[in-house]
Subunit: 329 residues, 2 copies
Amino acid sequence: MASIKDVAKLAGVSVTTVSRVLNNRGYIGNETRQKVEMAIKELDYQPNQIARALLKNQSNLIGMIVPDLSHPLFSELIHWVEAFANEKNYKLLVCNSLQESEKESNYISMLRQNRVDGIIMCSHSLEVEEYLKLSLPIVSFDRIISPSIPYVASDNYKGGELATTHLLEKNCNKILHISGPLQYDLLANRRTDAFQLTCMKKDVQFTILEGAHVKADFQSNWEFIERELANQLTKFDGVFCSNDIMAYTLYVYAIQHGIQIPEQLKIIGYDYHNFTRMLQQPRLTTVKQPLDRIGKALCSSLIDQIENEKIDDKNNIVIDVELIRGDTT
Amino acid sequence: MASIKDVAKLAGVSVTTVSRVLNNRGYIGNETRQKVEMAIKELDYQPNQIARALLKNQSNLIGMIVPDLSHPLFSELIHWVEAFANEKNYKLLVCNSLQESEKESNYISMLRQNRVDGIIMCSHSLEVEEYLKLSLPIVSFDRIISPSIPYVASDNYKGGELATTHLLEKNCNKILHISGPLQYDLLANRRTDAFQLTCMKKDVQFTILEGAHVKADFQSNWEFIERELANQLTKFDGVFCSNDIMAYTLYVYAIQHGIQIPEQLKIIGYDYHNFTRMLQQPRLTTVKQPLDRIGKALCSSLIDQIENEKIDDKNNIVIDVELIRGDTT
């Protein structure tokens, strides 16, 4: 690979002059600039960003830790974060924690050693203290880590309220909520709070079942439903699932067990990611988290922290949600 | 962030001694080693991998360029590549080309400037010459770029043969194939070759329709089917689609137009990624590309090139495929 010295030699100028042209610094005559530019082109010279990173103490790398790269929610989020990061001249290092705290911890250490400029944290298996030790810009998705670490989330409370109110308006009065894992302090759990409060206000009978499972795939959900709900499903006339894959699994389970959707049982999900949008049978009723806006907000919140060292007040960003009416309610 | 000097100061030794401990080089007494290790722990010192990369001329970064990060095929592939790269102590920089050659070209330049050790190339909008100019280890997915650049692919020919033979065994005799974009020289097009040859050998009437579309989502596929197939679908009794999302779209279209699946029309897809595995209505008949094995092969082929500079023969890797019997044939 050609070095800056090779460029200087071919152009017949000093290394300092080449560096000035590259950085657009100091006075350079037109003729000299042209000679240097031609030499750069001829040698296909690529400036060494690693050396620059060391010099400027900035790598333009962003680390992003997610629980599962192949999950439609996170792959879509990565898609949008990458797009916005690229616009701002940042590159994305992705890490898959698989919800194992040791893996998550190793990744954080690796990201620090590689001098990423900041971390987008979508995993949550690690203790809060571990994050607080980091002296790096961080933004978290869907989790309050500490007042010094801003978060981006959809309006989970409103989402829970929308979903529950929708079931009530459809005349459900024995309602079940299948929640996410409640042992983590996730903002997604506000969906559960909203569910509970909305039912209580309207004096409607409700049940909450914790859907604590690591793998959010069809098979694990199916086993969960068989284990926890098998003979009880007919007791309910409406279910609010905290994610679309659970809602879809429940739909398939109900149909196979002779329960008519939506006549006997109404089902509403949460997310509206790629999988849900492609799904046509059924078109799920669900709450849409706008992943494009969430990805952009994660990115801009982090870059803001990176580029403006002296931010006193780091704002959390809460993004509006929307009811999507499908065939399951 | 603590520097190597801080560690040396706290341990009461020289920077050279700390460096020896870190790199496990030269003789260090046990007591000294312990003092250094305690100082490292106390200061939470993280060695600077960027400086190391510059010194060793190796960054342990792998670049991966895909056409669409949120597509289930590529998000699953990234998932597996990341897992294997992590085992081998490499980190993954992901780039989304969106099938735009200018974006792909910018990414390649960016990856070179960041001194990635190699590139996994899953996008294909760029001309072959552009890749040949790179003096970097490369491995490509599903595409022959040049004899000097190895590829990893599923056995596309066998996959096409399996799919077509399966339709013939189910007594189809007016068969349609919806291919991928044929303007690119992709190995996936061997599915089309195998389709054609298998039909010819058996003397069965066949039609090939090029499904050249950038966005592999439900909506674009639907518009394609309406435009190209609307009044002709009943002419066929079997369709081999070159990807599962097309197969699913066609299934939904057929059902909505009163065509019974599989009685009147048999449909087989290709991929068996996350989306297909979760889909229960219908369970698609399809050809499985094992994305875990493909991801591992892409990773190990690239790392092999990175770590053994003098490989004369770079082997292409072709991974076996499997027929998945579902409800659509």
